[in-house]
């Protein structure tokens, strides 16, 4: 009887663990942290590829002045702090496959308009 009770409790604990460890319903999105360094007049990396459904956490640092990081066609636009002044974080849900251009949105010098990159969201 006691053995039965132990087995029963064990099986309930296992079931509870499985329920706890299982991903929550509807959260099929992967998460990806991408470190981007901005410097007159490039982003490194400037090309980023992810699968559809990925949540990208951009961590943005500058090696010189303030830069902007704007994803064209969206409302995502942050200022990247100057060198040594921390980093900016931007969350981007890549829910739709396609190509998204990102660019520097804060004038940073004579070559400002060369600062661009591409996020490719694949099926």
């Amino acid at each position: 009887m006691r053995r039965h009770s132990l087995v029963r409790r064990g099986s309930l604990v296992c079931a509870a663990l499985l329920v706890f460890l299982a991903p929550p319903r509807g959260s099929s999105q992967d998460r990806k942290v991408v470190q981007v360094t901005a410097e007159r007049f490039t982003f490194t990396p400037s090309q980023i590829k992810v699968k559809r459904g990925t949540v990208i956490e951009f961590r943005l640092k500058s090696d010189d002045t303030n830069h902007g990081f704007r994803i064209v066609g969206s409302d995502a636009n942050v200022i990247i702090p100057k060198r040594g002044r921390g980093e900016a974080t931007l969350i981007f849900r890549a829910d739709t496959a396609g190509r998204y251009t990102f660019e520097c949105s804060k004038m940073c010098g004579a070559g400002h308009s060369f600062m661009r990159g591409l996020i490719t969201v694949e099926e």
Binding site: I79, P81, G84
Partner: protein, 437 residues
């Protein structure tokens, strides 16, 4: 048996919950939140607050929103995006619609009086007609005063172009543009290079700031590769001199003669963090002041920059070719009475290691040493000997102190030598204050 049934029943329930696809119908109870979900919600909340604050501020300023409203983009809309600055980020600089940089110098040449010079006052303007059509302008006042006399300063329109953005790999640019040659010409903000004055190679061999009217294409291939290819107004070969190389040969968009069009291009690789490698060329018939002479001027250039931790190094090599130099000298002598001694080749290179010994410090500091070698009579037309005073070398040692990443106090000492036994060179102590905003 009942235990086994209960166990498999529990497994079945757990498996069902974890394996089934999301349903449109709301679940009876909300799923457990992971720390990541909580963080996303927090960031989204912060974004909403920031957005509301921006709208509020825009309302206070009476300005329209900067966001494009025409939606003229072929790109898909992201499902959602949010942003938030990290807690340790300090407030960013506040810049209005105008940006710019300034350069303020004290030059103390050996055995001469010191000179205080507000060397450059530069304003940059930008305007977006839409996401695909942009204007950039750069107006520079050199040496603080413009009187129209020979020794006065200059007011220069260094950039004023429209960018037609087709896609990241192909864009069209037209207007007053920078020649895409060398390190400094396209990146000359004072905090972005060491030394009070620009390198000699970037002054006499590559005549920075090199700008003129033109049009062309630019873009990025991916993997860190970028290119630009322009057609521009040519140099004026009759303004080439042994003392200043190509520096005075620019037409600067002032009713530029375009009997012949010059071609220029640059290929740049920046796919590795901290590393940029580039190569550029320029070529164009430049003898338009003499109907009988084309005088093709060409330039080939290679450059590289690398930084890792506190260490950095950059270098550049450039070689200029002047076609029909003998004929140019002859025609110049007949028309002005002076033979300008234009070389058939000019050459220059430099290498500059630097160190930021305390990179974690909020107030940054860097020390550098630059060796330059530049010869504006590297090869002369047949039968003409080069003058040795134009075969020059320079050692420049100095330091840069950054109270802010956009503000720099520079000091350096330049030792210049040439190969002539008759003509000496003048060393100089230079102090400069430069800033970008």
């Amino acid at each position: 048996m009942r235990t086994l049934i209960a166990f498999f029943g529990a497994l079945l329930v757990a498996g069902h919950i974890s394996a089934q696809p999301p349903e449109p119908a709301a679940p009876p109870s909300p799923p457990e939140k992971t720390p990541a979900d909580t963080r996303i919600e927090e960031l989204e909340r912060q974004l909403r607050e920031l957005g509301a604050r921006v709208v509020e501020l825009e309302g206070e300023k009476g300005e329209p929103s900067a966001e494009p409203s025409d939606g003229a983009t072929a790109e898909p809309q992201p499902a959602a995006a949010s942003a938030a600055a990290s807690q340790d980020a300090s407030p960013v600089s506040q810049t209005g619609p105008i940006s710019g940089y300034m350069d303020f110098h004290l030059n103390r040449p050996e055995h001469e009086d010191p000179i205080l010079d507000f060397h450059r006052f530069v304003l940059l303007f930008s305007h977006s007609f839409s996401d695909r059509l942009r204007f950039i302008g750069e107006l520079e006042l050199e040496h603080a005063l413009v009187e129209g006399l020979e020794e006065s300063g200059e007011l220069e329109l260094e950039q004023a172009y429209l960018d037609f953005r087709v896609n990241p790999a192909f864009n069209i640019r037209a207007g007053m543009i920078l020649a895409p040659v060398g390190i400094i010409n396209e990146r000359h903000e004072p905090p972005s290079f060491h030394g009070v004055e620009r390198p000699f190679v970037d002054t006499v061999i590559i005549p920075t700031t090199w700008f003129d009217a033109g049009a062309g294409v630019h873009g990025a291939f991916g993997g860190g590769w970028q290119y630009r290819a322009y057609l521009m107004a040519p140099l004026d070969a009759t303004k080439i001199t042994a003392e200043e190389g190509l520096a005075e040969a620019r037409q600067k968009g002032f009713q530029s003669n375009v009997r012949n069009i010059a071609q220029t291009a640059r290929l740049e690789y920046g796919g590795v963090r901290g590393l940029v490698l580039g190569t550029s060329f320029w070529q164009g018939k430049s003898g338009f002041n003499f109907r009988s002479e084309d005088a093709r001027v060409g330039l080939v250039e290679f450059d590289g920059r690398y930084h890792a931790g506190p260490l950095a190094i950059r270098g550049e090599f450039a070689n200029v070719y002047v076609g029909s130099a003998a004929e140019l000298n002859d025609l110049q002598q007949r028309s002005t009475g002076v033979n300008p001694n234009i070389a058939s080749q000019m050459r220059g290179f430099y290498v500059e290691p630097s160190v930021r010994p305390l990179p974690g410090l909020r107030y940054d500091f860097a020390a550098f040493l630059r060796y330059e070698n530049f010869d504006t009579q590297y090869r002369m037309p047949e039968g003409v000997l080069p003058l040795k005073q134009f075969d020059r070398a320079a050692w420049v040692v100095g330091a840069s102190y950054f109270p802010d990443p956009d503000v720099v106090l520079k000091i350096d000492y330049s030792v210049i030598r040439n190969r002539s036994a008759l003509f000496g060179s003048v060393d100089s102590l230079n102090i400069g204050l430069g800033w970008w905003f």
